[in-house]
């Protein structure tokens, strides 16, 4: 399968500090690619660079052509980020949050269809559609953030720490949804500190350390890799 999105020699600087120092990655269409690594390794910066939310150097190729660095145009091209910490809009209703996700969708009929689809997928959001999104629980806010991302009709969805701060049973729920999104043919880029869970569902994975991609391989390969096991999976684990 060809890569839908490719990153070559990506660099991002914050002042004098280089957060991402020359990363090469390829994201296969219709697959889940996990990016794991410890806090501050540069995972979020990589997807922010793809989103056009930070200044970058290097090449990003989308469907074979260079990708714009304007954040609003990246969304129009079908690459959507679900940011860390959900970043739902408090003070707006659940439905208004979802409609904002579909800001780039022109057809009203399409927007209504997308709304129905999210309510079918996440019934809790349907029950609370008129409610202030700021009053939702953490798990519900994550569902809303993912639903909002799907409202943009993405071809590539980038999820930043979707399991952060959620109860284990909700985390399982979130990961099931990520698998479902992939099964619908959407390419998923999954940034996670929860290495075990994300390597468990991903098709391919990268390990990021100090702004560099140090190890890569299929999910199964990474789960068995000694370095990965020691650094990210905790105690020895049988393969």
């Amino acid at each position: 399968m060809p890569a839908i999105l490719e990153v070559r020699g990506l660099k991002v600087r914050y002042g004098v500090h280089e957060a991402v120092c020359g990363v090469d990655m390829a994201f296969e269409e219709g697959k889940i690619t996990a990016i794991i690594g410890s806090n501050g390794a540069g995972k979020t910066t990589i997807i922010n660079a793809i989103s056009g939310a930070v200044r970058r150097e290097g090449k990003i190729l989308y469907q074979g052509a260079p990708l714009t660095d304007k954040a609003n145009r990246v969304v129009r091209r079908g690459i959507v980020q679900v940011p860390e910490g959900r970043k739902i809009f408090p003070g707006l209703s659940v439905e208004e949050n979802l409609r904002l996700g579909a800001y780039t969708v022109k057809s009203n009929r399409e927007i209504e269809r997308l709304l129905r689809e999210q309510y079918r997928m996440f019934p809790r959001l349907g029950e609370r559609r008129k409610q202030d999104a700021g009053t939702l629980s953490g798990g519900e806010q994550q569902m809303l953030a993912i639903g909002r991302g799907l409202m943009a009709l993405p071809r590539v969805i980038m999820l930043d720490e979707p399991s952060l701060g959620l109860a284990p049973v909700i985390v399982t729920d979130v990961f099931n949804n990520i698998r479902r999104i992939r099964d619908e043919g959407i390419t998923v880029i999954l940034v996670e500190q929860n290495a075990k869970k994300s390597l468990g569902i991903c098709d391919y994975g990268y390990v990021i350390e100090n702004g560099k991609a140090v190890i890569e391989g299929t999910g199964a390969e990474l789960l068995c890799n000694e370095e990965v096991k020691n650094a990210y999976l905790g105690a020895a684990r049988e393969c």
Partner: protein, 293 residues
């Protein structure tokens, strides 16, 4: 008598609401107090005055309002172009916007003073009679006109903000500009939209104030202070709060002026504002929204 005072108060309050909203909408998106709004109101009041007088027969008032609103938009873009655009490009701290907006406001007032001195100009009368009767109750024609125009404007604005795609995007940028970009919202376009709305509001309120009062260079700045009080009491950045507070302010002002006179009334109004800033800086409608992690 008190019914007339009430209507007069609501009418005045509705103009304050136009001003407060023009002020609050810029604040909500760009997070700075746009004091240039007062200068723009004055400029638009003069524009309306000249437009009214530049034809052999006085044009209908709605044409004048429309023309002034268009000029308000142009002026608003011009102020943004001259004073704020570069600050935005540099991501300058808010204090610079604050200084730039006050400077622009003073500059506009000075330019107007150079051309018109401090003479008072009055719009040509647009109605044959200053009052009309419904049953036995007497109404001021100008107050009624102002009330109707303002309420219509506010209704259109509320519809725009609450029900349209652009309005939703404006509210999103007001809550979190960074995340809005991830929704595909072009923040540059939203800023243009916000300045256009503020310009329309300055244009309309300038003409309405001109119809009610004689015009002079600092008219807009003085009236904007009232709009500012309303948007502080209503919660800076909260449109519904600003509208409610503005109308209450207008009514209170008219009653206080009637019973206490026009000299002590402003002291009480500004006193109330100080109390609000000390006790409830987020305003009556405002609440500090929290992001759940």
């Amino acid at each position: 008598m008190s019914l007339q005072l009430l209507i007069s108060g609501i009418s005045l309050g509705s103009v304050y609401a136009l001003i407060a909203v023009g002020f609050a909408i810029v604040f909500s998106v760009l997070k700075f107090s746009n004091f240039a709004h007062g200068g723009m109101i004055s400029a638009c009041a003069y524009i309306g005055y000249y437009f009214q007088r530049s034809f052999p027969s006085t044009p209908p008032i709605y044409v004048t309002i429309l023309f002034s609103a268009l000029c308000g938009v142009a002026l608003s873009f011009l102020v943004d172009f001259i004073a704020y655009r570069r600050l935005r490009a540099k991501q300058a701290p808010n204090i610079y916007y604050f200084l730039a907006s006050i400077t622009v406001s003073i500059a506009i007032v000075q330019i107007l003073s150079v051309f018109y001195g401090n003479n008072l100009y009055a719009y040509p009368a647009i109605f044959e009679s200053t009052t009309f009767f419904i049953g036995s109750i007497r109404f001021s024609t100008i107050d009624t006109l102002i009330l109707l125009v303002s309420l219509a404007m506010l209704a259109v604005l509320i519809y725009l903000i609450d029900k349209t795609r652009v309005g939703l995007a404006i509210r999103a940028v007001a809550i979190n500009a960074q995340t809005s970009k991830l929704m595909g919202i072009n923040s540059g376009f939203i800023i243009v939209a916000v300045f256009a709305i503020a310009g329309v509001l300055a244009g309309v309120s300038g003409v309405l104030l001109g119809l009610k009062y004689s015009i002079y260079p600092t008219l807009g700045s003085q009236m904007m202070l009232k709009g500012f009080i309303a948007s502080v009491i209503g919660g800076l950045g909260s449109l519904s709060g600003a509208i409610a507070a503005a109308i209450i302010l207008g009514v209170v002002e008219i009653f206080l002026t009637y019973y206490l006179g026009s000299l002590s009334t402003p002291i009480i109004l500004f006193g109330v504002m100080l109390v609000f800033l000390a006790v409830r800086p987020e305003g009556i409608a405002g609440r500090f929204a929290k992001d759940k992690v």
